[in-house]
Symmetry: C2
Subunit: 324 residues, 2 copies
Amino acid sequence: MSQFTSIADLRAACGDLPSGDAAAAAAVGTRLAQLTKPPRSLGRLEDVVAWLAQWPGRSPPRLDRVDVLVFAGMHGVTTQGISAYPSEVTAQMVANFAAGGAAINQLARVAGAKLRVEALSLDQPTADFTMQQAMDEAAFLAAVAAGYDAVSADCDLVCLGEMGIGNTTAAAALAAALFGGDGARWAGRGTGIDDRGLARKQAVIDKAAALGGRELAAILGAALAARLRRIPVVLDGFVCCAAVAPLKKLNAEALSHALAGHVSAEAGHRILLNELGLRPLLDLDMRLGEASGAALAVLLLRAALACHTGMATFSEAEVSDKSP
Amino acid sequence: MSQFTSIADLRAACGDLPSGDAAAAAAVGTRLAQLTKPPRSLGRLEDVVAWLAQWPGRSPPRLDRVDVLVFAGMHGVTTQGISAYPSEVTAQMVANFAAGGAAINQLARVAGAKLRVEALSLDQPTADFTMQQAMDEAAFLAAVAAGYDAVSADCDLVCLGEMGIGNTTAAAALAAALFGGDGARWAGRGTGIDDRGLARKQAVIDKAAALGGRELAAILGAALAARLRRIPVVLDGFVCCAAVAPLKKLNAEALSHALAGHVSAEAGHRILLNELGLRPLLDLDMRLGEASGAALAVLLLRAALACHTGMATFSEAEVSDKSP
């Protein structure tokens, strides 16, 4: 259970995070050097296996249980006309997740992952953060705890994602607050806002004061829980990355256990990944959220692991190694 | 069976290639517009489903049978010291493919694809093309025919790849002949040649006259067979793309049925993809060949198709569509 009773508590927890296990990563490297392929020729597929091994400290790593956690929240700022879709779509999509009809249902199945959706007080939208604080400290901590508690200690990997009409505006405001720049730097078209809506969205971001969103807070809590349990995390798009960005501000190493599953088409995501020092695995012009890019990345992780565990070594296959 | 009795025949066949079925692609677009997601939010996953539908003229498309075809050949130019590995590794790796120990065995299995390896006259290396023609017309046409005949009409998708110590040198020489530029533009490190070897490789490329390689010719034949049978093709790395580049020179539309599975770390690949007008699906610093990047891309195609066929429509899920 999440033990944070104040934001000060949460900050303190970020000061003392476990490191990865260098020995497990080194063991992966030793095996990689023996497999029947030129050194480094599997590129990032090699890196991700070492990364997967490093966090649990297990070589070879395993991906027996992969959870996809999608958090949903409602945003009062939607009254400002900053989204292409009405805010009731959030709850409708939560129902669609439950019925198996959304993209993430298909992607989680293909990725061999278990989907868990947490709807966070959908009947209580956060306040319009251009007018007042989006939520008070208690509401923020409750959302962090919901995310924290959604991470099972039995997981080998956690994918994080979200659903919340209006949340690219909240994410952009958060990115601007953390990394500087105005609405023009961070606002994108979200689900597909038109030019006038985009201008409104930029203005809203520029007016933001205390901000956030329940699903963003939950993602932060989940990423922190995973780190404390030494479970590697795959991040999704702009909103997900903005949600965990405060961790990076609190501790430069706080996202070492996180991989960016993809870079989305949402304008600010590439800038944000750069600020976070994360290199995305995929770049497919996606901008759906729902952990869709993270779940896709799991396919590559499984492929990487299959090569690592299934390939023959030079000596097993009697293949000549590199000429001296 | 391949019917080409001369290079003139082959050229003529490229002049009259079937087009894709625009109606099948449009049907995919119609369904995509109804699925519970913002328009275009699955990015390239949407494009690839339309592309998969377009070639066989089937909407939704299917991926029931995916073949991975790997062609292997021996290169006389290896005597020039242009590879990090001895040339006997080609045959050793063919044995490794048969035993299931190579990367492509694991990747094909994960991708739900059938691997077929064709070793092309490994006891008869092509001639050193800095000295003489790599092979005569009969040998070239026999290799084209081997590739052509390896494509089964029952396939829903074909991935093409290769194995051949020395073949990035042959590929670079081919790219230079087709698109201009010298060895410095097109030579990369292949399996991992050092600086002195790279300089030798550049010089060899600059000295190339009549050139090629059996596995390159076979890839060309297979890509052409797939087009004539309206089967979409996923290309692998630099060598594979150089092998099909002559088709593009003969007919600007000849590679419309081909998708670049990835861009490799081999220096010339990005340049070559640009010349071919192909945008790669993946960019993972891989440089293994064996169709490894193409097989990985199949994972994304399967995920794209799962979304397309499995997602609910707005009306099925009772989700509000975009605001007016």
